[in-house]
Symmetry: C2
Subunit: 423 residues, 2 copies
């Protein structure tokens, strides 16, 4: 068996993890590794710095290299680097969810033209096997729904807020101190990371190209300790859910936002930095896949897994893995958040007078919203009261109209939060 020759672009936590795992596979030869800083001290035994370069084009233009492993992240300059690699007939293994979400169509088209393949198991949910299973052993299925926890940082923060009754700010700070959140946490806490991942996963599950720019995205920064407490009393846990579904008319609904998840739901039980994907399809029914969604080792499992499958296939045939070729010519018809139907949790601050609940009920009714629970949560010092409303299944646009109308009433002081509910 001829050794597969690879170049690695990016040598941070994940790149180093991949390097270490590859040491057990003598049939893979690492030719070159592109890094930002050649002179940085590396904590790896018997490491020869001569393998390093600070010019990634030395890898993608190296005729000796068969496969480029890209774990550098970012769109710019990575997109240009990988298009060069593809034009030079190199197969790609990447963990770069942002690049695939934003430039996947272009990359896959170019890969097809050049008869190379792009594998990206590590781009979604780290070590959890999901991309290859959806493309191979689950391919008999019509997948109709995905609901997933795809971001470990936000799940960690929400878990600590719930366990220790912390504010968002305190939980974020602790997550940063422990390395679960970055100094600039925007990509995680505002839901960008989860949106990249659900765009990729929805595209391969529904066989239609999902546009990242049409995904509704809402992060966890507005979740308060009071929301978590109220949710708990009602039998729910708050999770950042990335979801995608095919509607009856064939339109596609893809979004990322926090949800109240019923305590008996398997996703409600996924704590800390763990990721979990619930996938519904015919004929398979419901599947739930749970594991580490990030970290050097789980990510390396997927990167090296892709590489070894590719290596075995290249050994047996010149043509790429047929099931691994992306070919989503059809564009998903994505609906706007206003067109979606959900159950809702609404937290309202109202005047503490007998009319407040009547007004909420009346305005909801006028807007076609049936209320299933309404709870007063105690009186504030300024004689206002916190009121929590749970609605039956309603149209988002109707709910938004009702909230606007509520805010015009003298009795309603503030809409504190609007969250969707998953039972």
């Amino acid at each position: 068996m001829k050794a597969l020759k690879v170049g690695i672009i990016g040598f941070g936590t994940v790149g180093t993890g991949v390097y270490k795992v590859l040491q057990s596979f003598p049939n893979v030869e690492i030719i070159k590794i592109a890094v930002k800083n050649i002179n940085k001290k590396r904590e790896i035994e018997n490491f020869d710095n001569n393998i390093l370069t600070d010019n990634p084009y030395e890898i993608v233009n190296n005729p000796e290299i068969d496969v480029v492993i890209e774990v550098a992240g970012n769109v710019d300059p990575t997109f240009d680097i990988l298009t060069t690699a593809i034009k030079n007939k190199k197969h790609i293994v990447t963990a770069n969810k942002e690049l695939l979400a934003k430039k996947g169509s272009e990359l896959f088209k170019l890969a097809k033209e050049n008869n190379v393949i792009i594998l990206y198991e590590a781009a979604v949910a780290g070590g959890i096997p999901i991309i290859m299973p959806v493309k191979t052993i689950l391919c008999a299925n019509k997948i109709s729904k995905i609901a997933a926890i795809l971001n470990g940082t936000t799940n960690y923060i929400l878990t600590k807020m719930s366990e220790k009754e912390l504010s968002y700010e305190t939980a974020l700070k602790q997550a940063q101190e422990l390395g679960y959140a970055e100094t600039d946490p925007t990509g995680d806490v505002e839901g960008f990371d989860a949106a990249y991942k659900i765009s990729i996963l929805s595209t391969i599950s529904f066989n239609k190209k999902v546009d990242i720019n049409k995904i509704y995205r809402e992060g966890i920064t507005k979740i308060t300790a009071q929301d978590i407490k109220s949710a708990k009393e009602l039998g729910y846990t708050i999770k950042l859910i990335a979801m995608g579904q095919v509607l009856e008319d064939g339109k596609i609904d893809v979004r990322v936002h926090p949800m109240l998840v019923a305590r008996k739901h398997l996703l409600a039980k996924i704590d800390n930095a763990t990721n979990s994907i619930m996938l519904t399809g015919y004929p398979v029914g419901d599947l739930v896949l749970t594991g580490a969604g990030a970290g050097a080792e789980p990510t390396a499992s997927s990167v090296v897994g892709d590489l070894l499958v590719l290596s075995a296939e290249l050994e047996s045939s010149d043509s790429p893995l047929p099931q691994a070729v992306c070919n989503h010519s059809e564009i998903a018809d994505q609906i706007d958040i206003g067109e979606t139907y959900n159950e809702y949790y609404i937290s309202i601050t109202a005047s503490n007078n007998p009319g407040a609940i009547g007004i909420i009920g009346t305005i909801c009714g006028k807007n076609n919203i049936n209320i299933s629970t309404i709870m007063q949560k105690g009186i504030n010092e300024d004689n206002t009261a916190e009121i929590v409303v749970i609605t039956e299944r309603s149209k988002e646009a109707d709910v938004q109209n009702a909230l606007a109308e509520l805010l015009k009433s003298n009795n309603i002081k503030n809409i504190n939060n609007l969250l969707r509910v998953m039972n």
Copy 2:
């Protein structure tokens, strides 16, 4: 793309499910279906009975057929039928866990000699993608441990015993009435089915041939309502667990038995007929895969998934899927249950006198068993008492010795149950 020509052997629930799902895939042509009774009325629209035969050899000897789907079950005569198919250069897709567990080595050897492959995703955990992921995208991992709920019938019975405080007998009867258990439930309730599945899964996960005859197997028939109640009080749920692990010395420990599973463990939350597999490997860490473990549709998902992957591969290359070839030349060195270490739950009936607990403590101590909890569960009419003991990690042989010694004491009336504990 040339249509793949298949023959189906077995046309019960699963066979019919496979037939129905295949109607959506015009590139698969069903040439012949072997059934027991040709004249039986089939509940399938536009079904042409001419496709049926009661002689499966008409399928395996038919030169037109490329792939044989076997969903008939049993070892005899299925083994002979499939060996004939393989010698006739037909690829096999099978759901037959018993056949693979008992005759897998012979079949895979023959398949290799004839350059055909055997796929069997449906043989373990129905619709849950586990066989192909372990062989492909997870192949960078050293898998060290599997703990799984692989039998839906027993999980359903144990769930109902727990939810409704039923006896085993009542829960079994209800499961039979609802179609969750067969008239002769032995294969499920005595753990045979789970043992077949864990032998297959351990073999591919540990890359060593596990011998079904060396798997310790204990069913759920001796679990009482009192055991379930005591377990609950202690924070546990009782589940039939199929487990396999690689020990530090490289020996393999594979077994099937009921366990007290700590309530916070993800497997404790798997209810009714659902299956779930927890797999621990390096570098991936812990993965939990959950879904329907049986039923026509989930099983068809795996059978048709195998078939479509095979079809795509045959289209691109003459050689079989490299990653799908079984090649476990090494034999697992399986340890006996006496050599295993576990925490234990022991239910004892003792005389209601002050010496009983002292005797239990003394005899456990003499046999190197540390007790972590000892609880008296109430006094019986005959002035005996139920005592529940939870031990720290101990050697099974020591525990068995202690139990034999306890039974010799006048104060100990009975050992009601001995169960292992998973935290």
